[in-house]
């Protein structure tokens, strides 16, 4: 089954720019624009890879290590995430590792933002840290709810398999609330509206974009790619942990094909939901962002409590 495990990790890694392109295309459609093709992110990455780089004079080696750390942490996460098959290539450490892989990525990016020595990087980093303090507990508690619900330990593959075999019995307040909390975390973690505007050119309002402002060329491509992969991994996790029905537990060819089709359909639904949220809402005030993240935390807390009292 190692072949399937490798293939699903590769698929996730290869799909990342496509998912980003699909969300942009859906958003463009909702705005009555034709928009760029769904393959545009691949072209953008190719373009960036061929470009030279300009580096600020105040940078140390950390600046150049950051894209590598970011990309590596996301690649490892992609190998840890069940997507079409519950066995994963890197079944190490379970949920806590997953949450702290995201944190490592964010920590590296914050350092990269500070390294450039520009004002905007510093502002972006400080805002990102403010948000991350609130994202982290919500994310940890949300996934922990699943571990308790499934009673299958902390391994993502095991949780996915347990919930899939529980069938309709798993659907309850805990799962629904935890899924809602995870969706809010997904938007916050991936710098989407209402937390951040991924397409803005206004330096003073940026969070995520401000941190990667100083990067160029291949390093920028790595940063861009890792944020696309982060979004795809989040979407895959939402699909295979919170709505895992149809995921292949056995690795038989027929079940794998069904699982792949379902997994892609789930991704498309999540992409559509993201595009819809981004079209209906506008970016919220910076100091209202904690309120929404607190809601996310409260939802996952209630989900956890409901497991014990209901």
């Amino acid at each position: 089954m190692i072949v399937v495990e490798v293939l699903q990790a590769v698929l996730l890694i290869a799909l990342a720019p496509l998912m980003s392109g699909i969300v942009s295309k859906l958003k463009a459609g909702m705005q009555n624009r034709p928009g760029a093709g769904v393959l545009q992110p691949y072209r953008d990455l190719y373009k960036l890879c061929r470009k030279g780089r300009a580096v600020s004079g105040s940078c140390s080696w950390i600046f150049h290590a950051v894209p590598v750390v970011c990309m590596a942490s996301m690649l490892i996460l992609a190998a840890m995430t069940p997507f079409v098959y519950t066995g994963v290539l890197a079944p190490y450490g379970g949920l806590v590792t997953v949450v702290y892989m995201f944190t490592m990525y964010r920590f590296a990016m914050v350092l990269g933002g500070l390294e450039g020595g520009s004002t905007f990087g510093g502002m972006g980093s400080s805002r990102e840290m403010m948000m991350s303090v609130l994202i982290e507990p919500a994310l940890l508690l949300g996934i922990a709810t699943l571990a308790v619900l499934s009673g299958a330990g902390t391994d993502m593959g095991d949780i996915s398999e347990a919930i899939a075999t529980m069938g309709v019995a798993a659907v309850g307040p805990a799962l629904i609330l935890a899924a809602c909390s995870f969706m809010i975390t997904l938007l916050a973690e991936n710098a989407r509206i209402p937390f951040d505007n991924p397409t803005t050119h206004l330096e003073l309002t940026m969070v995520h974009e401000a941190m990667i402002l100083e990067y160029s060329g291949k390093e920028l491509a790595m940063m861009e790619y890792s944020s696309m992969l982060r979004m795809t991994v989040f979407m895959a996790m939402l699909g295979s942990l919170f709505l895992p029905w149809g995921i292949s537990c056995t690795g038989e060819p027929v079940s794998l094909v069904v699982s792949l089709v379902l997994a892609l359909a789930k991704m498309l639904v999540i992409a559509f939901a993201m595009a819809l949220v981004e079209s209906v809402l506008c970016k919220s005030r910076l100091f209202k962002v904690p309120n929404l993240l607190t809601v996310s935390f409260a939802l996952s807390l209630i989900a956890m409590i409901s497991l014990y009292i209901l």
């Binding site: 009555n32 981004e278 506008c282 005030r285």
Partner: protein, 482 residues
């Protein structure tokens, strides 16, 4: 109604304070050179349709007015920089022209030794936890250059100082040509999105002694309102874009594009350039185009209703706009703010209603105003004015009768002044003609005074709200810095 009052250096301050306390508002100040027997400093005041030019001869030393009338301060600085006049109580050292190359408006040959390079003034707020954020003059978007220094404690802004002056083109100096020469091509380029309003102001000066055909006047008003339409639609769309309110933002861009195309069809220029000239208009509008315009306006109104309903029905957007960047009424009056900015802060003033220029006296116009002075109020005032403009274009199209559209116009010697309502507010052009030559031409763009409004509105807000407040003021850098 323009009246001129000559005083001397000693009497100037007292006369100006008298006018100010009588409800007259300082519109513009400018110098005439060379200093000595022919030099003068003029101050233009306006109350309703009554314009007063108060002036005194000078030998290069001026009387400071800004201690008594604060809104005189930017004019005094500009005069000091542009003409080299010195004021008895000094001027604040904020600069408009950072690259010092003498005093551009002097009549004497350019002397390099007078060149000064004035360093940027540091912010006055200092402290352990106060950071200074420099932004610009090169920005990430395609916008004009301006340097801003924020003093922040965390996210809230304590102090904001803009430093402008990166777009100086020497327009006022270039305007000093024989009085009969048509300089409308240059005037249109003072600020590209205000070309009709600037051109009307210029043409009115050139036409001080000429009667202009009625058809030309109506066409001018029609164009001025089309210009206001696309500017205001652009400003409202900008609010949506800056808050990442994507769908209305895309709708607004589409509507603005359709206005541009209508402009193209009316005048063969998307932004209405090359149309207004001294003596009338360069191109007549054929009747077939007017029918097209009528259909267009009806459809435009429905599309705009859809857009504005979406904006007003969105709690997320209202949450961003309400209470952000408040310019209080007292401050708006104090700095002499003009246009939609002032009207959103409860100053009920619109040049189109107060001065009967072009054919505005024959048109029905509601004044849109608001008392809250925040980003929402400015947006609402603009939305109201969009509907008013559509109404005015309708009225103009109905009033059009066949006739001449252009006559010859040359101004006589003396002082001429014109005040028009540009999309951004009251625009003042004034000219001194001596011996058949424009001796001094002064332009006061509405942004010139409104920039100070923004400096008052930003402190107390968080840094990420600055671009939104900036957009709601919608100021011109080029028009501010001639």
């Amino acid at each position: 109604m323009i009246s001129q009052v000559r005083t001397d250096r000693e009497g100037f301050r007292a006369s100006a304070i008298d006018l100010d306390s009588d409800g007259y508002r300082l519109m513009d100040m400018f110098t005439e050179e060379p200093f000595g027997d022919a030099g003068a400093v003029s101050a233009l005041f306006r109350r309703g349709d009554d314009v007063v030019r108060l002036w005194y001869p000078t030998d290069g030393r001026g009387v400071t007015l800004s201690r008594d009338i604060p809104c005189a301060s930017p004019f005094e600085r500009r005069m000091a920089e542009m003409s080299g006049i010195t004021f008895d109580m000094g001027t604040d050292p904020i600069v408009y022209r950072r690259r010092g190359d003498g005093h551009p408006l002097q009549k004497t040959p350019y002397d390099r030794s007078t060149e000064v390079r004035i360093p940027l003034k540091p912010n006055s707020t200092v402290g352990d936890d106060v950071f200074e954020i420099p932004v610009g003059p090169v920005h990430a978007g395609i916008i004009e250059p301006g340097h801003f220094r924020f003093s922040v404690a965390g996210e809230p802004v304590i102090e904001l100082n803009p430093s402008l002056g990166y777009t100086h083109r020497g327009i006022e100096k270039l305007m000093e040509v024989p009085a009969g020469r048509d300089m409308s091509r240059l005037v249109e380029r003072i600020s590209g999105d205000t070309c009709v309003a600037n051109c009307i102001a210029y043409a009115e000066i050139m036409e001080s002694d000429t009667r202009i055909p009625r058809r030309a006047r109506i066409i001018r008003v029609l164009m001025a309102e089309m210009e206001r339409l696309y500017n205001h639609i652009g400003a409202v769309t900008g609010i949506c874009t800056d808050t990442a309110f994507n769908v209305p933002s895309a709708m607004g861009s589409g509507i603005q594009e359709r206005v541009f195309r209508m402009n193209m069809s009316l005048t063969r220029h998307r932004q209405l350039m090359n149309c207004v000239v001294p003596g009338g208009v360069r191109r007549d509008i054929p009747d077939s185009r007017l029918r097209e315009l009528d259909d267009f306006l009806i459809r435009l109104k429905f599309d705009l209703m859809d857009l504005t309903d979406r904006m007003m029905d969105s709690p997320a957007l209202q949450d961003r706009l309400e209470g952000t960047g408040v310019l209080t009424n007292a401050k708006a009056v104090g700095i002499g703010a003009v246009g939609p900015i002032a009207r959103a802060s409860g100053v009920r003033s619109d040049v189109r209603r107060e001065l009967d220029y072009e054919c505005y006296g024959d048109l029905g116009l509601n004044l849109c105003s608001d008392d809250r002075g925040d980003v929402n109020a400015r947006t609402m005032v603009r939305i109201g004015e969009i509907y008013e403009s559509i109404n005015l274009v309708h009225q103009c199209a109905e009033m059009l009768e066949p006739g001449e559209t252009r006559v010859r116009a040359v101004p006589s010697d003396g002082f001429h002044c014109s005040v028009v309502e540009a999309p951004r507010g009251e625009l003042v052009h004034s000219a001194v003609v001596r011996d058949g030559r424009v001796w001094r031409y002064s332009v006061r763009d509405p942004s010139f005074v409104n920039w100070f409004g923004m400096c008052h509105a930003v402190p107390g807000n968080v840094v990420p709200d600055f671009p939104l407040i900036n957009k709601s003021f919608g100021l011109s850098y080029a028009g501010n810095d001639l």
